[in-house]
């Protein structure tokens, strides 16, 4: 009976600790993913500037160069592009993906699709630049939030778990 009690207390502590870590991880991952998106936008910009491949080809090649969560957006967008226009396809795949970005980030990323496949090269590149500055701003914001919150949630999880265990002992 006593051992069961201690095992339960350990579980309570572990759950709280992991929960804190999970929430703090979210902030770290958000910065990482935003950086990945900036990276991907750079790659796409270069490809649009210097090669004449179709957009779906560019997307697939980009998806191979960035990490998993973000690559899924591009793969999904290429699939969507078979049936929809480029803007619609991009918006849908950005909304559908599973990631740690905030709603504000997603709105900014969506702006990339606005002129996609509609104007000439120059127009698209300037739109891309705009999106990139947006994303950079979001990265700054996300970094500030990470500094503020990620460590706090980590400590909070551990300390609250400890407090529960001490109260329940």
């Amino acid at each position: 009976m006593i051992t069961l009690k201690y095992i339960m207390l350990l579980l309570v502590f572990a759950t709280s600790f992991l929960l804190g870590n999970l929430i703090s991880k979210k902030y770290i991952l958000r910065v990482k993913e935003l950086k990945e998106i900036k990276n991907a936008l750079n790659i796409i910009e270069n490809k649009i500037k210097f090669t004449y491949e179709p957009l779906s080809e560019v997307f697939i090649q980009t998806s191979k160069l960035v990490s998993n969560n973000i690559a899924n957006i591009f793969i999904d967008a290429t699939n969507n592009m078979k049936t929809l226009g480029a803007e619609e396809a991009w918006n849908r795949s950005v909304e559908r993906t599973n990631n740690n970005l905030s709603a504000e980030d997603i709105e900014n990323i969506k702006s990339f699709g606005k002129l996609l496949g509609k104007t000439d090269k120059e127009g698209q590149i300037s739109q891309l630049e705009l999106t990139k500055t947006f994303v950079e701003m979001q990265i700054e914001k996300a970094k500030l939030e990470e500094d503020k919150n990620s460590k706090m949630y980590k400590t909070l999880g551990a300390v609250i778990g400890l407090a529960f265990v001490i109260i329940l002992i």
Partner: protein, 64 residues
């Protein structure tokens, strides 16, 4: 009725102090105050139980 309770109160006090520090550092003063209050209430409930126990023993002992 054990010395354990004393250690428990000390531990809760120190943990609440740590929580307070962390929350204040993150700029959440109001939540920090709430945690302090919650800690105080928890300790108070534990202490009240013990006080009523003491009063009971004194009553039975001196048949008040």
């Amino acid at each position: 009725m054990d010395i354990d309770l004393l250690f428990k109160i000390a531990a809760i006090g120190i943990l609440v102090a740590v929580l307070h520090q962390v929350l204040v550092r993150a700029g959440r003063e109001d939540q920090a105050m709430m945690t302090t209050l919650a800690g105080l209430v928890i300790v108070l409930t534990m202490v009240i139980k013990e006080i009523s126990g003491l009063f009971g023993t004194v009553r039975t002992l001196f048949n008040l």
